[in-house]
């Protein structure tokens, strides 16, 4: 129960932050990704502030053995920079630059009935489901970032 509530709170704050900062508007994201006279640094500012605050959270956990509502901290299982990581980032970057959507803003947008996000979501969900159905040569991926 407390675990579910904690996740609901995290999602709500995350979604509010994405929305208020303008990141749920793909035009703002594309204004950062498109290098022309209308370039806009909003995404960079939002992202660096988020990284700084998150880093404080990670530092605060350094002397703890476990989070509040679980037995252990779950770090991503994969390590090292491999072809799979970089190829995935290339494919993702192409879709991001095409639409201005990454997963967070797309989900927030679709759940608030933004028509652009609703058009983006079917492909996104289909790809996630198709990926889960693929045979995996390397073991667990449940703790991926």
């Amino acid at each position: 129960m407390s675990r579910s509530l904690a996740a609901l709170i995290a999602g709500t704050i995350f979604g509010t932050g994405l929305s208020i900062s303008g990141m749920t508007n793909p035009d703002v994201v594309l204004a950062f990704l498109t290098l022309d006279s209308t370039w806009d640094a909003s995404l960079l500012l939002v992202m660096t502030s988020a990284v700084a605050v998150t880093a404080v959270g990670y530092l605060a956990s350094a002397h703890r053995d476990a989070p509040l509502f679980d037995r252990e901290f779950h770090l991503p299982a994969r390590a090292g920079i491999d072809r799979r990581l970089l190829l995935g980032a290339v494919v993702f970057g192409a879709g991001w630059g095409l639409s201005g959507y990454c997963p967070g803003p797309a989900i927030v947008g679709a759940l608030t009935l933004d028509p652009r996000a609703l058009a983006f979501l079917p492909g996104f969900i289909a790809a996630l489901l198709a990926f889960e159905g693929l045979p995996k040569p390397t073991a667990p991926q449940l703790d991926d970032a």
């Binding site: 700084a52 605060a60 993702f92 201005g100 790809a127």
Partner: protein, 124 residues
């Protein structure tokens, strides 16, 4: 707020606030865990809260983006984030915050490719 949410998810549940991974887990019914589904519900609730603070004049519309392009982008983003084990939140925010070389490499890569694609497709 994004940082606060990511820090809170780590300190309370010990989980990385990576939306692509959480979305994939929320879609999988085999996981007995309810937390990814609740995180996604929270994202929607947060969106509505954020909209309440915004100017009503900025009602979203399809704009210059066409539907076929959005569907294609959705496929690329879905597949790419699973193959690369993360997106803007997981690698870009959380991974960078814990100085993961892996995440910083992925972030640099998707920003560069994102900029190339967007500049080619959308530059005025």
């Amino acid at each position: 707020m994004i940082g606060i949410a990511a820090a809170w998810l780590w300190l309370s549940l010990g989980r990385i606030a990576g939306v692509s991974g959480i979305a994939a887990q929320a879609l999988m019914k085999t996981r007995a865990n309810a937390w990814p589904v609740l995180f996604v519900i929270g994202l929607g609730a947060g969106g509505w809260i954020g909209n309440a603070f915004r100017d009503a004049a900025t009602i979203p519309h399809l704009g210059t983006l066409d539907v076929l392009m959005l569907i294609t982008a959705g496929l690329l983003v879905g597949f790419g984030t699973r193959l690369g084990s993360g997106c803007t939140s997981g690698h870009g925010v959380c991974g960078s915050a814990r100085l993961s070389k892996r995440s910083i490499s992925a972030t640099a890569m998707f920003i560069v490719v994102g900029m190339l694609t967007a500049t080619l497709m959308h530059a005025s």
